[in-house]
């Protein structure tokens, strides 16, 4: 998913249709002209007042606190963590603990593996969810209602229980300790399909598809030129959620993989060893395991921020 970074001329050319895309069926707005001029403001015409910032700051503080405390704990010693009150500011052991965690858990290989795993799952989920969600939202076909119910139904199977039969299945395929054992079972997601369907129901006007059809566009072209642009913010959010989920998943990877070919969450297990687990080093490992996610945040975050309309004119 590359952002629209082509030159200004192409952007102008693509302006009208993107505006149309964003207007839902019910929108009474006269278009495309007024839509186009207002499109520059991207739906966020209201400026935030001070209260908005205060509420958001509070919410953000609560959200971030455990993560920040992880960093504080990682900068201390295990003994200090046992004392009350717990440390509330950074100590001097951060780099020592980070280094120990990195080498003891051999996180280098694990990071590469997890990037492959989480990246593949994200690509698969976003791609297949978008097209399936589009079909469920906007195309009429036999059994579509039933198939949609079936899709949602698959979400209802508790994952904790699938572990044993899935292991037997993976063992049959001789995939134990190989990355595809953790990639393929979560390569698609019912959550994603349902999410995309609900989103496109709202965000993608049916007239747009009809118009494209009248122009003789094939389904693939419609996916590429109509659905993907309209779905971009949702694809970015889904991509972000999926990436984080895949990165932090541990129940199944611990069972399917071992430390000769680990993901980060599997590798981090080697830190809690010995009768006296060093909590500071464990926290350092947890911190290291989370850092790559921050990069993913920035990568996907930009996509979410620059919503469809804004993206069209930003260049």
């Amino acid at each position: 998913m590359k952002s629209r970074t082509s030159g200004p001329t192409t952007d102008l050319a693509s302006d009208p249709p993107t505006d149309v895309i964003t207007s839902p069926e019910s929108a009474p707005a006269p278009r495309p002209k007024s839509g186009r001029s207002l499109g520059l403001k991207a739906g966020r015409t209201m400026h935030a007042g001070p209260w908005t910032y205060i509420v958001l700051a509070l919410f953000t503080a609560v959200s971030l606190a455990p993560l920040i405390w992880t960093a504080i704990a990682a900068s201390r010693t295990s003994g200090r963590l046992a004392q009350t009150p717990p440390p509330l500011w950074f100590g001097g052991n951060l780099f020592k603990n980070l280094e120990r965690a990195w080498t003891e858990a051999s996180l280098g290989d694990a990071m590469l593996n997890t990037t492959i795993v989480a990246g593949s799952i994200t690509i698969g989920t976003v791609l297949f969810s978008t097209i399936a969600g589009f079909a469920f939202a906007k195309l009429k076909f036999k059994f579509s209602g039933l198939l949609l119910l079936l899709t949602i139904g698959t979400m209802m199977v508790p994952p904790q229980l699938s572990v044993v039969p899935l292991y037997l299945w993976i063992a049959d395929l001789q995939w134990t300790n190989q990355l595809q054992a953790v990639i393929l079972p979560t390569f698609v997601s019912a959550f994603g399909v349902f999410f995309m369907r609900q989103y496109l129901l709202q965000a993608l006007p049916s007239e747009l598809i009809e118009a494209a059809r009248m122009d003789g566009a094939s389904s693939l072209r419609i996916i590429w030129h109509v659905v993907f642009p309209a779905a971009r913010p949702a694809m970015a959010v889904l991509g972000l959620l999926t990436f984080v989920m895949a990165w932090n998943d541990f129940l199944w990877p611990i069972i399917a993989l071992n430390q000769s070919n680990p993901t980060v969450q599997v590798a981090l297990n080697s830190l809690g060893t010995g009768y006296i687990p060093d909590r500071a080093v464990i926290m350092a490992g947890a911190l290291l395991g989370t850092l790559p996610l921050l990069f993913a945040f920035i990568l996907f975050g930009k996509q979410i921020v620059s919503g469809i309309m804004q993206g069209a004119v930003k260049g």
Binding site: L38, G43, L139, V164, Y199, S219, I282
Partner: protein
């Protein structure tokens, strides 16, 4: 089906004034009948092709576990001996329905589900609304929403155990300074449910806010524009523009959160510490997901655990059916 044929017919005549790139593609008139046949096939088949990958992967990796647990739920099957199963019929189910632990877990799942899901979605909607304003440093605010979801279980469990500690925990310290007695968060009935719910809310509110935010991005701003020209306040705009436009996404989060609440497992487990799968000395915060884990994973009774899973599925279907009925009633009443 009539709709699609209509497309095909209107589409087949060559339009000279179509977009240049597109017309270039369809200039080759000799093959036009072949093309139109292909086109008709495309329209008929493409929906199935689009949903096929999902079902293929599900069939390959989701179906076997589903059928296996269904089969296991009708047998006595132990983790220590997967090759030896005894046919029980519905005995696992009838046993469960007579088990206090099952009903207790069901009740806990319901109460924790309600006190965590409702505030979580309400707050998420509000936060998403705020995030949708023009903000300084908007990327930062947005990605911070997902920090709890990205925080590792190891960190979160350590932090929350310390926060909710009976003796010397931060929460008890605060309520103590206002003059209340310290609460044994883990071993009291409502206290533990409240604590677990607060972890759930902490973890998932930002997640849902981001989902709402994505949907808000697609709300055409001219709706707000005309609403504000009509003199609508921000609150009115939120109520009369944002919420109706977001209805499909709200429905989505309600469904997903309901499923998530029914399967709730990670948060109570981490809150429970060692032997967390019991959900407290009196099972006061043991959810169905936790009970299933305890039965299958700790006690090794795969058959019984599978029956719990299938009962959970039945419960979800019941909820869905009730929902449908109510919705239909409401529509008729209108």
């Amino acid at each position: 089906m009539s709709e699609t044929t209509e497309y095909a017919e209107t589409a087949s005549p060559d339009k000279g004034d179509a977009a240049p790139a597109a017309s270039g593609r369809r200039k080759s008139s000799p093959t036009s009948s072949w093309r139109s046949r292909l086109y008709r096939w495309d329209i008929k088949a493409s929906p199935y092709v689009f949903v096929a990958p999902f079902f293929l992967f599900f069939g390959a990796f989701g179906l076997f576990p589903l059928l296996y647990t269904g089969w296991a739920s009708l047998h006595r099957l132990e983790l220590t001996n997967l090759d030896d199963s005894t046919w029980l019929g519905l005995e696992n189910y009838t046993n469960l329905l007579q088990s206090d632990y099952f009903w207790n877990a069901l009740g806990n799942t319901f109460t924790i589900g309600v006190i965590s899901t409702v505030p979580q979605l309400a707050i998420a909607l509000g936060i998403a609304h705020l995030l949708n304003y023009k903000l300084r440093g908007s990327t930062l605010w947005r990605v911070a929403m997902l920090a709890p979801y990205a925080t590792s279980v190891a960190s979160a469990s350590l932090v929350f155990t310390l926060l909710f500690a009976w003796d010397g925990g931060m929460v008890n310290w605060i309520i103590g300074s206002v003059g209340f007695d310290p609460v044994n968060w883990r071993e009291s009935s409502w206290g533990s449910q409240f604590a677990v719910s607060s972890i759930v809310i902490w973890r998932w509110t930002g997640y849902n806010a981001l989902i709402y935010l994505a949907a808000m991005q697609a709300v055409p701003h001219d709706l707000y524009e005309s609403a504000s020209l009509d003199g609508a306040s921000r609150w009115q705009q939120f109520r009369h523009v944002t919420i109706p436009m977001l209805r499909p996404t709200i429905l989505f989060t309600v469904v997903v959160s309901t499923i998530g609440a029914t399967q709730l497992f990670g948060e109570p487990l981490l809150f429970g510490g060692t032997a967390g799968s019991k959900g407290g000395a009196d099972h006061q915060f043991q959810t169905l997901g936790l009970y299933l884990y305890d039965q299958g994973w700790i006690n090794g009774h795969l058959g019984r655990a599978s029956a719990v899973a299938w009962l959970m599925l039945v419960i979800l279907l019941l909820i869905a059916a009730v929902n449908l009925l109510i919705a239909r009633r409401l529509r008729k009443a209108q």
